[in-house]
């Protein structure tokens, strides 16, 4: 069986390599993509949208539909993770630690109520003493990562980056908080309700901008039609529309990344994990 698998993989790989031989060379000026399409974008993007980063202009404006449905796909991924993994049953075994003495309490009955306050703290089953160096470094680092993520979102028009990357970086900073402290810290600060609302809100912002353009009398996602609503230079309005769309994508991606992580790492219970 393993032999057959190897043969099939090698055959498919060989076919793919054979297929790539017909592709134009990297940077070939005579290739179909470089002869008509790229020229149009390079010549017209600056006057039509006033966005210096061509990639962002193509992704968020000329190919706005693609990016909208990509965001919807990310949202669906988060939704599927939630529906498949979320487990609302309370956990049977729970552990608490008496902080001043270090005595551990083990509750086997799920109905027993135990309030974790200053004296008692909730702890995971496979708990390891949290390292002070890791905690301190992460606590200092997380705000800077978040500022950088916001910068990436806001400067998507001018430099590499955009909503997707910025959202992922922001989500990773929250995941870093869960890893360096524990999952309870994250779940307490960034609640499930908050994440769900934000995941839906991001897609709503994107679609809302598109519908807004329709209401103003243009086509769907035609940001130029939003000009009367915003006090700005009408030539710059498409760049502003793209910024709004990027913010929507960033919010949705940030929320979905955290939802996926929390659901995977705690088996859907949102209580203990990495």
């Amino acid at each position: 069986m393993k032999f057959i698998g190897t043969v099939i993989v090698c055959l498919t790989g060989g076919l793919l390599l054979y297929g790539t031989m017909d592709l134009p060379d990297w940077g070939d000026p005579g290739s179909p993509a470089s002869t008509h399409l790229s020229d149009y974008y390079i010549e017209h993007i600056m006057e039509q949208t006033q966005v210096p980063n061509l990639v962002t202009a193509v992704l968020a404006d000329y190919r706005g539909y693609d990016t909208m449905f990509e965001t919807a796909v990310v949202f669906c991924a988060g939704l599927a993770c939630f529906l498949l993994l979320r487990d609302f049953r309370p956990k049977k075994d729970r552990y608490f630690r008496h902080v001043p003495t270090g005595v551990m309490l083990h509750f086997k009955n799920p109905d027993t109520r135990m309030i974790a306050d200053n004296e008692f703290e909730h702890m995971d089953k496979d708990w390891v003493p949290s390292d002070m160096i890791i905690k301190t470094v992460c606590r200092i680092l997380i705000p800077f990562i978040q500022i950088y993520a916001l910068y990436v979102v806001a400067h998507g028009d001018f430099s590499p980056g955009g909503g997707f990357q910025g959202g992922v970086i922001f989500g990773s900073s929250l995941i870093l908080m869960a890893i360096s402290y524990n999952l309870k810290t994250l779940v307490k600060r960034v609640t499930e309700k908050f994440l769900s609302i934000f995941a839906a809100l991001g897609v709503l912002i994107y679609v809302g901008l598109g519908v807004g353009a329709m209401v103003m009398g243009g086509h769907f996602l035609d940001y130029g039609m939003l000009a009367p609503l915003l006090p700005s230079d009408p030539g710059h309005i498409r760049a502003l529309g793209m910024l709004g769309v990027e913010i929507g994508v960033g919010i949705a991606v940030m929320a979905v990344m955290v939802i996926i992580y929390v659901n995977i790492v705690s088996e859907g219970r949102h209580d203990e994990g990495l």
Binding site: V55, P160, G161, Q165, V168, I169, G171, I260, I264, L274
Partner: protein, 81 residues
């Protein structure tokens, strides 16, 4: 262009890809995938596709590795085959 960099990075990419499917430790596979993504990110950057390189670095080398590690944490660390 910088063909020695291209060649060296491409060798490492292939090495990482083969190692990722042969290693039996799944945590090691996750880390190898992360290294693979990062080397691909270098390749994209050398080719001038900075946006793609950025996405590869943040999604491929960053978040997906964390998801893999989380999944390994909740399942088993050894492969059956």
């Amino acid at each position: 262009m910088l063909w020695p960099i291209d060649l060296i990075v491409l060798t490492f990419v292939i090495f990482c890809a083969i190692a990722a499917i042969t290693v039996r430790d799944l945590l090691g596979t996750a880390i190898l995938f992360s290294a693979y993504s990062f080397l691909m990110c270098l390749l994209w950057a050398v080719m001038g596709a900075v946006d793609v390189a950025f996405t590869e670095a943040s999604v491929g080398a960053g978040v997906s590795t964390v998801f893999f590690v989380a999944a390994v944490f909740r399942t088993s660390r050894r492969t059956k085959d």
